[in-house]
Symmetry: C2
């Protein structure tokens, strides 16, 4: 009997993307929520599982792996998954992988950098944002909107696939946190429509609600 343990923090966007894939693929797993603020990713035990001391990470029958997108690809192979979210078709996988490699610096980083600068400046030991120091973040956000609108132009999905895939879920989860910047999706109807349609998925809703519960208790 194959045993899968998933280490995560529900407030983490990449963790929710991995959990979404597991739930939609009917893969059984044990979930261990780690409190990153209490240093639970820094322990000697967890460092053996993920030397980068970050979530998500998995242990599958003794094999440990990290990096959310690599975990999804691994689970799809190891569990022989072939669904809408990460199909076996090499062409569709190719498009999804191309998006996921691009995602880090172009979708995730601009939103996370802005949020960190705006809300976690004390923890980072940096000064509070002024109009001047916020300007590059605003400009990066503007580029971000343009990039996503342009991405969606082709098929309505970020990896230029005919259906929503795990690539859309990775993008969606970054935006759910990015909204705290705040972001104005109403000014970008193409993004708004894609975001709202994808957000109807009950698994996405349940995971987001878990994240919001945690974030509510932080602020």
């Amino acid at each position: 009997m194959s045993e899968l343990v998933v280490y995560g923090a529900i407030a983490s966007q990449p963790v929710r993307s991995v959990l979404f894939f597991l739930k939609h693929s009917g893969i059984e797993y044990t979930y261990k929520e780690l409190n990153t603020l209490k240093g639970e990713t820094q322990t000697e035990e967890f460092t053996k599982i993920n030397p980068y001391q970050a979530v998500p990470a998995i242990v599958h029958d003794g094999f440990n792996l990290w990096e959310s997108a690599a975990i999804v690809a691994y689970l799809a192979d190891a569990y022989n998954v072939d669904n809408q979210w990460y199909p076996k078709d090499p062409k569709i996988r190719g498009r999804i992988n191309a998006y996921l490699h691009w995602h880090h610096q172009n979708i995730r980083t601009p939103l996370v950098s802005y949020l960190v600068a705006k809300y976690w400046f004390k923890a980072k030991g940096t000064p509070e944002l002024t109009e001047e120091t916020e300007r590059p973040h605003r400009e990066a956000l503007q580029t971000w909107y343009e990039n996503v609108e342009w991405l969606l132009n082709d098929t309505g999905f970020v990896a230029r696939t005919e259906k929503a895939t795990i690539a859309d879920v990775f993008a969606y989860n970054e935006i759910t946190l990015g909204l705290l910047i705040p972001m104005d999706l109403d000014a970008h109807p193409k993004i708004r429509t894609w975001f709202d349609t994808l957000g109807n998925d009950p698994v996405l809703q349940e995971l987001l609600s878990g994240a919001l519960d945690v974030i509510k208790h932080l602020t």
Copy 2:
């Protein structure tokens, strides 16, 4: 008969990683060198192949794909490749993919940012580096050395695999350009040994020699 066209620029590190994989996998292809400085990635024709207007990009029997790591994974699937560089074993692939997702921001970006700031400041419209503005780059390079030494600690290869894989090739190719910073590999014997051993591969040597020819004519 399957037809594969690869669009590249030999001076590009990710292009050389894709070409390395093709050559070591015995995949037949037609190679088209684009002159990025002459805007050959900006043409209407090439934009249809890669809307991001960057190399590498491929067209395989009418299917177009971009992003070097996604291209390698696609070719492995499409051509049923199972070699040392990107084996089918999901566990080894998982480790390689985890590295390749981490590579962008932690291996490639620090070296490329430093080089751009030092040599292409005019093209970027930014001032020449001073001791003060170079300091963050030097610090990032120090972190870079520490990261790579730490990566190699486990098995001697960057993706913690038992043999060299395409992950090592992606890292190697970034360093070949990074050496212009300059970098001091002799002060980091673990990196030096890994780099020199990998560099014995004749395909890597041939590709690097092509790149150095192009770079020599630029400087």
